[in-house]
């Protein structure tokens, strides 16, 4: 298979005029080169190459035009012939007035003017000598065609039919209209292939491009020959036949050698590449040279065998290269290579085995070979665009697989069960379509290595990761890479320090570059925005395509949108909370304050002060989303110190934590109020002169001990009023427990234990 497209296309867009993908200037080529270890030197589309391309296009069109003119002017007898089972030519239909009555008769020979009758048989209907197995038959074919051509040149052709009937018909130029659909299609395909090869060659003139252009040109030539042969039913132009055999064998051999050459250097150079390439080329040219001087016995066998051997060699090389360093391109090429070589061998075997049945052989050679050449030509055409679009490739794979199955079945039925051509074709088409319907998904998976996430799962993932990104914007890159990993299953993933505006495919579709969005303002400049580099999709079994870049861009966009939405919702919420907090604070706070100033007793005043402080804690909790533990601790300590000092009480404060976590509002306000309540108890009820507070947070486990030296005793007998009940409630809210015990020698010790004080609550 051709491999040259890699340099010319994937790493760089197609010629600017035809490419929908703009050059991504946001990413420096140099960086990529360093990363990928392959040169990506951008070649400019310089004027002279453009001019050369225009010239090539013109030449191609003129060539085709001349060919069409020549064919249209070639004299022919308007009749349809077919080979019958006895190896004779039978007239099927004709619009010639002299021939209409002779339908079903056997044509024995042809002559004209002063030329004697030349005997004909079914071999004369064989359009190309390329698919004749025996050397002797090929010689006879050449002789027959020679006679036919001479007869046609006589203009008035004498046709000798069975039962001694002789007719003379006038051979006329066939005209443009009767060239046939097959001719136009094949000629167009050949022209397109020729143009693509020229574009590849001129876009980046190099050895590799030359090899690709070489094989494309050969296949274009093959197609043209087949196109010409499809026009002619009886009697090829004089001299064409000699040419035809030589050229088509040469085309096949050169193509095979070129593919061997290509796969030795691409996608990865293999050991002894030049030796292998030289061997292939040497073999091909030796065969061509021998054949051209008619010194090659069993030429057909040689050609078929050498071509098949080279195909097998290509597959081996690709396997080896992929094993050394996985590359999706090698995998895809090998897949197509197996199909192409398999079909080739099948075709060879079918033709060889049908040697004794002229009618059958005629069909196989005509249909089978056309299908094979069209397949290989489309494959060549497709190569430069493999990483462009996944559906194209998928559909092509389907087409290739189905037509291969259909062809093989057709050949099999015809060869084994001696079914008629129509019956076997119908049956095989029917069967292969059924197979297609039944095994479509399986084939798709096999061809594309597709085990993509289902839409549902992907949505779920996207949603989950959007949540996470919102919580931890600094982990965007990590989370995105996790999502992409599940999406594409790349073999390697790395971070590059460059920001690109869009995702893009680089290096022959082996690499996808996805920019990481900046979802959160960054505090430090250490983490510059960058991109993720994914290499070898589906563990190296698939190539990245333009569809993948679109998908990646969509994912990134959705992520951005989800986070933006979440942020907007969160902001709205916090604004609302803040407004609520301010209202509470201003209105209720002021009233409580007034009540407090007017309090009749110190107890009432304390109670109101306590309430006011709770209100303040509540409103502050409402307004601020989270509190750093160390900051909260500093405030707790200051607050408690102040209150204990006012009550002439000493404080021993010990605070230790292994992680300065962010307390949620619930955690902060619960801990604040628990501490306040417990300290109030020590002051008011126990009348302590010393309070010890020990706060330890280790591995998410919080132990808070508050002991006093007051007069309190026998805590189990306490009635739990508002204060202690509140403490219990809040500790329970945090998933912990609280217990009061007698302190030795005097006082009470209260222990709060929360086993899991995590960021989540």
């Amino acid at each position: 298979m051709p491999a040259e497209h890699a340099d010319a296309f994937s790493s760089r867009p197609f010629p600017p005029s035809t490419s929908p993908v703009p050059l991504d200037s946001g990413f420096e080529t140099q960086t990529l080169e360093q990363l990928l270890g392959t040169p990506l030197e951008p070649s400019r589309w310089i004027g002279w190459r453009l001019r050369l391309l225009v010239l090539a296009v013109l030449l191609g069109c003129v060539g085709i035009f001349l060919l069409i003119r020549t064919l249209a002017a070639w004299p022919h007898v308007d009749a349809v012939w077919r080979a019958n089972d006895r190896g004779q030519i039978e007239l099927v239909s004709s619009s010639e007035p002299g021939l209409t009555t002779l339908r079903g008769r056997t044509l024995l020979g042809v002559g004209g003017g002063d030329m004697p009758m030349a005997a004909l048989d079914a071999l004369a209907l064989q359009r190309s000598a390329r698919w004749l197995v025996n050397d002797s038959e090929r010689d006879r074919h050449r002789a027959l065609q020679e006679q036919l051509a001479r007869a046609m040149e006589q203009r008035d052709v004498k046709l000798y039919f069975s039962d001694g009937v002789t007719t003379e018909v006038h051979a006329q130029p066939r005209g443009l209209a009767s060239l046939g659909a097959l001719f136009w299609l094949l000629a167009a395909l050949a022209l397109v292939l020729y143009l693509v090869s020229m574009v590849v060659l001129l876009a980046r003139p190099s050895m590799r491009s030359a090899v690709y252009a070489g094989m494309s040109l050969c296949q274009a030539g093959n197609l043209l020959f087949i196109a010409v042969e499809s026009v002619v039913d009886l009697g090829l132009p004089r001299g064409f036949n000699d040419w035809d055999l030589q050229a088509r064998m040469a085309f096949d051999l050169v193509t095979a050698a070129a593919i061997v050459h290509a796969t030795t250097v691409h996608p990865r150079p293999i050991d002894g590449a030049s030796w292998l390439a030289a061997l292939a080329w040497g073999l091909a040219f030796a065969l061509i040279a021998l054949q051209s001087i008619h010194q090659l016995p069993a030429a057909w066998w040689w050609t078929q065998a050498v071509t098949a051997a080279m195909g097998v060699m290509v597959i081996v090389q690709l396997t080896w290269s992929n094993r050394r360093e996985p590359h999706p391109f090698a995998v895809v090429l090998r897949r197509f290579g197996v199909i192409a070589v398999g079909t080739w061998i099948l075709l060879t075997v079918a033709i060889a085995s049908a040697d004794q049945l002229p009618a059958l052989r005629h069909n196989i050679a005509a249909i089978g070979s056309v299908i094979w050449y069209v397949f290989i030509a489309s494959l060549l055409l497709l190569m430069p665009f493999l990483s462009r679009s996944q559906p194209v490739m998928r559909e092509f794979s389907m087409l290739a697989a189905i037509s291969t199955v259909a062809t093989s079945l057709d050949l099999l039925f015809a060869a084994l069960f001696s079914l008629s051509q129509f019956a076997s074709l119908t049956l095989s088409l029917f069967l292969s379509l059924g197979l297609y319907a039944g095994a479509r998904q399986w084939i798709l998976n096999q061809m594309m290595g597709s085990s993509m996430l289902t839409t549902e799962r992907m949505f779920e993932q996207l949603y989950r990761i959007a949540r996470e990104v919102e919580l931890h914007p600094e982990r965007t890159a990590e989370l995105l890479s996790q999502l992409l990993r599940e999406l594409f299953e790349p073999l390697e993933m790395s971070w590059v320090d460059r920001h690109a505006s869009h995702s893009r495919v680089v290096a022959d579709g082996s690499t996808l570059l996805v920019p990481v969005p900046e979802l959160a303002p960054r505090d430090d400049e250490l983490e510059a925005p960058g991109s993720l580099l994914l290499r070898f999709a589906q563990r190296g079994r698939r190539m990245f395509t333009q569809d993948d870049t679109r998908l990646a861009d969509r994912v990134v966009e959705q992520l951005k949108r989800a986070v933006a939405f979440d942020q907007a919702v969160e902001q709205g919420r916090s604004e609302e909370r803040a407004r609520l907090a301010q209202d509470l604070h201003d209105d209720i706070g002021a009233r409580l304050l007034t009540l407090m100033y007017k309090a009749q007793s110190p107890e009432m005043e304390d109670y109101l002060r306590h309430t006011l402080q709770d209100l303040k804690t509540l409103t502050r909790g409402l307004a601020a989303p989270s509190h750093r533990l160390s900051h909260a601790a500093a405030e707790w300590k200051t607050d408690i110190t102040q209150r204990l000092t006012a009550a002439h009480c000493d404080l021993a404060w010990s605070f230790s934590f292994d992680r300065d976590m962010m307390l949620s509002v619930v955690q902060w306000s619960a801990l604040t109020r628990v501490l306040r309540e417990l300290v109030s108890n020590a002051i008011a009820h126990a009348q302590a002169s010393q309070v010890d507070i020990d706060f330890t947070l280790q591995d998410e486990r919080l132990v808070l001990t508050i002991s006093d030296n007051g007069v309190g005793r026998n805590p189990h007998a306490w009635s739990h009023g508002l204060g202690l009940g509140g403490v219990r409630k809040r500790v329970k809210q945090l998933g912990g427990e609280v217990e009061w015990n007698e302190n030795e020698p005097i006082g009470i010790v209260c222990r709060v234990r929360i086993d899991e004080l995590s960021d989540r609550h």
Partner: protein, 246 residues
């Protein structure tokens, strides 16, 4: 002659409570002027020589300013009285740094929390007048940020309390700072004191940790207040001259 005191407070009950606090705090004869809103406070100040406080004229020696007033924010008055030679104290229910720090920036010499006990308030008031202003951990953190990186980044990252969007109307944004100046830098000692304060250490504990006397710690705090004040005033002046107000 009696010491003149202005108490600006809209709640009459709170006002009379504060009057009691002031009377209890000082042994001198006290002449208290009460104001219920910004308007009347401005009028009273105008009668005693205007916002600049002309020398020789009988001016207020102590001004207590409530932040939440019916006709505006006490912060406005503080800004107007930047040059007024009196001890200015903010009395508020808001104890968080988001509300208090801008007041200190505008020249307040200290703050009193209205819900504190009578005795606590008396003690705190005496301390402020004596030059021992309070400094909560949250405000210490804000100060550290303020002096470390100048205004701008302040308040957003280090305080741990995100600025409250809903409160922004009653709290003027911190002033812009053009370039760091000499009087805006803290000495290493002051920096150390602030750091300890931000971690919740008491003045006694800081004195012990630094091996100095507690009143030396206090001097540092006073100096920090002054620097904040001066720097804020300088900023205000620069800003005003930029805008062609002076």
């Amino acid at each position: 002659m009696a010491v003149k005191v202005l108490i600006l407070e809209d709640n009459p009950v709170a006002r009379s409570f504060l009057c009691r606090v002031v009377r209890e705090s000082f042994s001198d004869a006290i002449a208290i002027t009460e104001a219920g809103d910004l308007e009347s406070a401005r009028r009273e100040i105008g009668l005693t020589g205007g916002p600049r406080g002309l020398p020789g004229v009988e001016s207020f020696k102590l001004i207590l300013v409530d932040l939440e007033l019916p006709d505006g924010n006490g912060m406005e008055l503080l800004a107007e009285l930047a040059q007024y030679p009196a001890t200015k104290i903010v009395t508020t229910l808001y104890s968080d740094d988001d509300h208090l720090f801008p007041a200190l920036q505008r020249g307040a010499d200290g703050y009193l929390l209205k819900e504190d006990r009578f005795e606590v308030l008396v003690e705190e008031l005496q301390k402020i007048v004596r030059g021992q202003p309070p400094l909560s951990p949250a405000i210490a953190r804000r100060l550290l940020t303020h002096f470390r990186q100048g205004v701008g980044a302040e308040g957003s990252s280090d305080s741990g309390f995100a600025p409250l969007p809903g409160f922004s109307t009653s709290r003027p944004a911190p002033l812009e700072r053009p370039a760091p100046m000499d009087h805006e830098r803290l000495t290493p000692r002051e920096n150390e004191v602030l750091t300890y304060l931000s971690k919740g250490f008491t003045i006694k504990e800081i004195a012990a940790l630094m091996g100095i006397k507690w009143f030396t710690v206090n001097d540092h705090i006073k100096s920090i207040y002054k620097k904040l004040n001066v720097s804020s005033r300088a900023e205000a002046a620069v800003l005003a001259s930029k805008q062609g107000l002076v």
